[in-house]
Symmetry: C2
């Protein structure tokens, strides 16, 4: 099992993001986890966690604007002593409420596409040089010992598996993110960087609601195991938290 040195994860203040930070800290034990949040008043637990653990670097970032992203990349490069970035997890996302076509609004469509599709592409673009650096400088096989981009997707973004209507904004944004993942896997293969889309399962979070069958812990335990096992054969795949591959 390869060791992961440096991780960057967005939307780390709650739900799956926060639980991933905890689980990675205790299992993968990276040297540095850069964990972004938008609103400090809603990020108490992450900020307390970081205060007690020098591996965790909280970073305030609104992924819609990516303001100041060049300085953030520079900070990551400095804090990691230019060892590069091994794992970028595009986790932050939004979900408009369920809506039939008649209730579908332009602002919701655009917001979901901007946050769930466009922001992960642009953040990956911002970090590609650090990902390439980590990959090139490691003798590990492809995987989190080199460099991996995880786009947190959803089974609701699977066109093949869609079997009910409505929810245009969220579903379309995740299908588009899946396409971006596939393109990245092809763009990055010569650099031995892996790109995967992960479905975390239906999880009891603010987004998933109370009826969800999985606890955040069950989901992130699966995801972290999956991250550890990633290899070249997974490049460009759509995989759920328990390792099962999903159709596009």
């Amino acid at each position: 099992m390869s060791k992961v040195r440096n991780v960057f994860i967005t939307g780390a203040n709650r739900g799956i993001g926060l639980n991933l930070v905890k689980q990675m800290t205790s299992v993968l034990k990276p040297e540095k986890i850069f964990a972004t949040y938008r609103d400090p008043s809603k990020s108490q637990e992450l900020l307390e966690l970081a205060a007690g653990n020098s591996a965790i670097h909280p970073i305030q970032l609104d992924i819609r604007t990516l303001a100041n992203i060049d300085n953030i990349v520079k900070t990551v490069d400095e804090v990691t002593n230019s060892t590069g970035l091994n794992l970028l997890i595009n986790n932050a996302g939004v979900s408009s409420k369920y809506a039939r076509l008649n209730a579908t609004k332009k602002e919701h469509l655009m917001e979901n596409l901007e946050v769930n599709t466009v922001a992960p592409i642009l953040l990956t673009k911002a970090f590609i040089a650090l990902l390439e650096k980590a990959s090139a400088s490691s003798s590990s096989p492809p995987g989190i010992g080199k460099a991996v981009v995880v786009n947190m997707s959803s089974i609701l973004g699977s066109i093949s598996l869609t079997d009910n209507g409505g929810m245009y904004a969220y579903k379309c944004s995740k299908s588009a993110l899946n396409m971006a993942t596939k393109i990245m896997s092809l763009d990055f293969s010569k650099s031995k960087i892996i790109a995967v889309a992960i479905h975390p399962g239906w999880v009891k979070t603010a987004m998933g609601g109370d009826r969800a069958p999985l606890t955040p812990l069950q989901s992130v335990q699966g995801i972290v195991k999956l991250l550890e096992s990633l290899n070249e054969s997974n490049n460009g795949q759509f995989i759920q938290y328990d390792g099962e591959q999903l159709k596009w």
Copy 2:
């Protein structure tokens, strides 16, 4: 073969859109074709065609804003004597130039998503009542004798078939449009309205370029034959101009 009475098609001033208007006029002979264009100075041929054929109603429309769309829907309803809309073809689209990740810009991503994904969803929303009216009032089997929504997609939006990198904006927007098509097919099935995504082939147009193997005529001859043959089994499918079904 069912007869199609009323058609609405966007981006009808050039390329596949203009050729579809010509081919439908000569083969399907609908009573009314509403054909939209954005810039009159680039729509000479469509406007001349319409001047010589009373079935063709040119309509100026920018699908990004859909300004005045409620009045346009009202006009369609009046001109068709409230017989409803049998065929909505979301054909207008844009394509950012080919770009690797490093050259991918936010404005191109957002523009492609707005024009190629969001506009077709919102235009379909605007016309759903007229589509339902046409479907409910026709005794034909599901197909263009009742009501059909065609989203003009591209094989470049097939995640499964993507085998080279770059071009994030266009490819992601077409994958998202494919998802929207699948959702529409489920939303509309109770109204017996069919939704399909069509890949027109790689066609010699301003968008497709000179190296494309197909002429516009070859493409639209195939598409019109395909439209005539559409039935309930095609609902929610991704089909290319020659009838071959594509994977998502």
